[in-house]
């Protein structure tokens, strides 16, 4: 008697997902609680595990959209499958390939496509150490890379040139391609991974990126986004930080970063200018009385914006540890749906990548987003003298339907004040 493997309930309002990867090949013997597949939804990626031990029979291939409750595989507790060779299905590296065919029986093509022809460099173990590192780091399918070494072996240079040529130079409607570009909207793909020559490769957009793309376009179309700029002299914050860095770390067990200052300053400004802490729903203006701040986190799987709850009630240390924890979980793809919902305001730090100035796009339902940038030593005039100060440009994008220029500028100037003079936050002046 076989046991069905079903797509579990994921959360409110989510009815479908994307079967990103089978962690076990068809025909493998699986243990109870062993990860069977990786499921991606709008916001989160989750592992689906085996309820019973037995032989796995895969019914739905990788790259398919699946519904909650759908049967995607069966486990036969009485049968023993083929021995599972790790090399054949190392996690990540082959996620874009069709379900691996058990090596012992290569003619068994139960899935819609047969595996790509085996050749040099096909499985991860046969790659050179540098090539293996690059393939894993960039989540590449080595079978898509042409090897110029002996016997078709893939050299590091081949991967480097593959990565260089990866974004397609397409004058026509651009085919979806794997790219690291942050948040750029791209058309929704229809085809599964298909090799298309040496200069391009195609792979399905991850569920996360598809959703991200849709939402970015949606907000661009519905909100009247306007960006105002200001600059902040970071010397006080930096001095404070370097002065108490050690003590802070000792006392709280977490490093004192810039983010806690920005979150605190934001909360202060939101309190001063409540119009920013609101959003439009239908014909109504909804004003928030909570201070749940979204923090944009860049992961190798895409951009996510986990939320620091009730930031107004958190100490600096609590904010720092909350952010550190959320960022770690984002990288590990273990964020829950709840972690991502309900930000009233978002902070995005493009400075970590070296951005000097940018115009962030709103993260709905929030009506404004603060863009941090890199700190640069620049000459500024203070008391009629030119002095060198560590300066950062700040950008505030806001929904002009709701927030007037006066409010936006006041809000941003308040953030600048709080950062240039952190005592103001303490004294609430």
């Amino acid at each position: 008697m076989t046991v069905d493997v079903k797509i579990p309930e994921i959360g409110e309002s989510i009815s479908e997902g994307f079967l990103a990867e089978w962690a076990q090949p068809d025909g493998a013997t699986v243990e109870t609680d062993q990860t069977l597949l990786v499921l991606e939804t709008d916001k989160i990626t989750m592992n689906v595990t085996a309820d019973v031990a037995g032989k796995l029979e895969i019914l739905v291939g990788e790259g398919e959209t699946v519904q909650v409750g759908q049967v995607v595989a069966r486990i036969d507790p009485d049968a023993t499958g083929t021995a599972h060779d790790d090399a054949g299905s190392s996690e990540g590296a082959q996620s874009k390939a069709p379900p691996p065919v058990p090596q012992a029986t290569p003619e068994t093509t139960s899935t819609k496509e047969s595996a790509p022809p085996s050749g040099p460099g096909r499985d991860l173990d046969s790659l050179t150490p540098a090539v293996r590192r690059l393939v894993e780091e960039h989540d590449l399918d080595p079978t898509q890379i042409r090897g110029s070494g002996k016997g078709g072996r893939i050299l590091k240079g081949d991967v480097v040139s593959f990565l260089d040529h990866r974004p397609p130079v397409a004058p026509m409607p651009a085919p979806p391609a794997a790219t690291e570009a942050e948040g750029a909207p791209r058309p929704v793909p229809t085809a599964a991974a298909a090799p298309s020559g040496d200069r391009q490769t195609r792979q399905p957009m991850s569920r996360l990126r598809r959703r991200l793309a849709e939402r970015l376009v949606e907000v661009q179309q519905t909100a009247a986004i306007l960006t105002t700029f200001n600059e902040v002299d970071m010397s006080r914050v930096m001095a404070l930080r370097s002065r108490y860095k050690e003590t802070f770390k000792e006392r709280h067990g977490v490093g004192l970063g810039f983010m806690s200052f920005f979150v605190k300053a934001t909360v202060d400004a939101l309190k001063k200018v409540p119009a920013v802490n609101a959003f439009i729903e239908a014909d109504e203006i909804v004003t928030n009385h909570v201070f749940d701040i979204g923090i944009a986190v860049s992961t190798e799987h895409g951009l996510v914006v986990p939320v620091v709850r009730d930031a107004d009630r958190l100490s600096m240390a609590e904010i720092e540890s909350a952010i550190a924890e959320l960022a770690a979980r984002a990288q590990a793809r273990t964020l829950q749906l709840d972690d991502l919902q309900g930000a009233v305001f978002t902070i995005s730090n493009g400075g970590v990548f070296g951005s000097l100035m940018s115009t962030p796009i709103l993260n709905p339902p929030g009506s404004a987003i603060l863009g941090m940038h890199s700190i640069q030593k620049r000459p500024v005039v203070i008391d009629d003298e030119i002095v060198i100060r560590p300066m950062m440009y700040l950008a505030l994008s806001y929904d002009h339907r709701l927030i007037d220029g006066r409010e936006a500028v006041t809000f941003l100037k308040r953030i600048v004040e709080c950062l240039e003079d952190p005592e103001r936050m303490l004294l609430e002046i």
């Binding site: 150490p129 050299l155 590091k156």
Partner: protein, 465 residues
């Protein structure tokens, strides 16, 4: 007249290896050699005896100057030069005898005598017993090279000698003057310096080992000078007078002007030239290049389609292992297989102390070719194994392409780098990147860790610097 599929003339490392490989592939092979022992210059009067002497002299010098540092107390230390030479000769005898055994095992017919190409398909062997004609479907010329003489200083085998005689001096010279700071000059200079001679090396060019990367040549020069070798670079020998017990040399340099050097022995080590005379090449119509080497195509074929030439006779560095690989390639080509030599990955080693080893291109060559590259260097000094050996002088330098990270050259000066270079050669043969080398586990504590650190340093992430 017996006809062979292949007649190889010259039983040096190129010739005898060619003969073995051809025999393995089922060809009927004759090997013609004028010496009574096989192995050519390399085994008889080159690489092998010089290594034997280098080792013996190192043991001697080590006991004299380094035993105390190891806490080893020795009594009277003396040198038995005859015993030292006997050991060298025994090693040579074992190896040349081994080659003879290999020929027997592979059923290669060895014919002693001077081989001469008398027609495209004919080799005549001249010996004391007269001349023998051999029919040859294919011929491989592996005649080797001989030391070059200076016109004003002909070698007499006594005061003025070539490397051959310098391997068998009956006494340790008082003052040995070496002309030429290449591998031969520096190695034999080192041998006699360690055994007690004063050694002066005169080199026309501005660096020792001019084929090496400049930085490495400089490092080697400094190390040898520290040991007491008097190295005169940019210095030209302009005249010589051979007296009964000594030789007077006039040398000139921009730095020191004109000087007279007096030595009781002079070793002329200014290079080698291919042996192309007296083998009938011109008569049969084998074309030579400028410089006197035999002209060959990529498959080592001369202008005569069934006549091949290898080793010191043809373009490229005069190295035994290069000749061996060419011998294999020729045998395989004749047998209808794709024979190939990768000239980009031929290592080059100088067996001084510290040793110098290299493969691939130098910084200067890469700059000239306009190839963008990154450099990783690591010294032997912090390496634990080097410290325990008491051999901390030297460094490893890796040059890798700036974009692809492919290793383009590896240069080493230091302890036992003659062995360390093999790793770099394999890596380059497989077109490995510096990162491939850096991500490969190396045993600890070993000298090879220095290679790995140099590979890490290409990406500026050496761990122990």
């Amino acid at each position: 007249m017996t006809t062979y599929d292949l007649v190889v003339i010259g039983a040096g490392p190129g010739g005898y290896v060619c003969a073995i490989r051809a025999a393995q592939l089922g060809l009927k092979v004759a090997l013609v050699e004028k010496r009574t022992t096989l192995g050519g210059t390399c085994l008889n009067v080159g690489c092998i005896p010089s290594k034997a002497l280098l080792e013996s002299s190192e043991v001697f010098e080590g006991i004299m100057s380094r035993a105390a540092e190891h806490g080893v107390v020795v009594g009277d230390v003396g040198l038995d030069l005859d015993g030292l030479m006997a050991r060298k000769q025994r090693i040579v005898g074992e190896l040349t005898g081994g080659v003879t055994a290999l020929m027997k095992k592979n059923k290669v017919e060895v014919i002693t005598g001077r081989g001469e190409l008398t027609a495209v398909d004919r080799v005549t062997v001249h010996s004391d017993d007269g001349a023998t004609e051999l029919g040859a479907t294919h011929v491989c010329l592996a005649l080797g090279s001989a030391s070059v003489n200076l016109p004003f200083l002909p070698a007499d085998g006594k005061r003025v000698v070539s490397s051959t005689e310098a391997l068998s001096f009956e006494h340790v010279p008082e003052h040995l003057v070496v002309i030429g700071a290449g591998a031969v000059g520096l190695e034999l200079g080192s041998v006699w310096r360690r055994l007690g001679a004063r050694v002066t090396v005169v080199e026309m060019l501005p660096t020792v080992t001019p084929f090496a990367d400049k930085q490495m040549a400089k490092a080697l020069e400094r190390a040898l000078a520290d040991q007491g070798m008097d190295i005169r670079l940019d210095t030209r020998v302009t005249a010589a007078k051979v007296l009964k017990t000594k030789v007077k040399l006039n040398v000139e340099s921009a730095k020191n002007g004109s000087e007279t050097l007096e030595g009781d022995r002079v070793l002329v080590a200014v290079g080698r030239r291919p042996v192309t005379a007296s083998a009938g090449l011109e008569e049969v119509g084998v074309l030579l290049e400028e410089g006197g080497r035999v002209a060959v195509d990529d498959h080592l074929r001369t202008n005569l389609p069934t006549v091949y030439a290898i080793g010191d006779l043809v373009r490229g560095p005069m190295l035994a292992h290069k000749a061996e690989d060419e011998g294999v390639a020729v045998a395989e080509t004749i047998a209808g297989l794709p024979g190939h030599v990768n000239y980009d990955t031929i290592p080059n080693v100088v067996y001084t102390d510290p040793e110098l080893a290299m493969v691939g291109r130098t910084e200067a060559q890469l700059k000239e070719a306009g190839v963008p590259f990154a450099t990783g260097r690591f010294m032997f000094r912090p390496n634990g194994r080097a410290k325990s050996l008491g051999a901390e002088v030297g460094l490893v330098k890796i040059l890798a392409h700036a974009d692809t990270d492919e290793i383009l050259g590896v240069h080493m000066v230091g302890p036992r780098v003659s062995e360390l270079i093999a790793e770099a050669v394999v890596a380059m043969e497989l077109h490995a990147s510096a990162e491939d080398l850096a991500r490969t586990c190396h045993a600890h504590p070993t000298l090879s860790e220095v290679t790995r650190e140099a590979a890490l340093a290409v990406d500026k992430r050496a761990l122990h610097s």
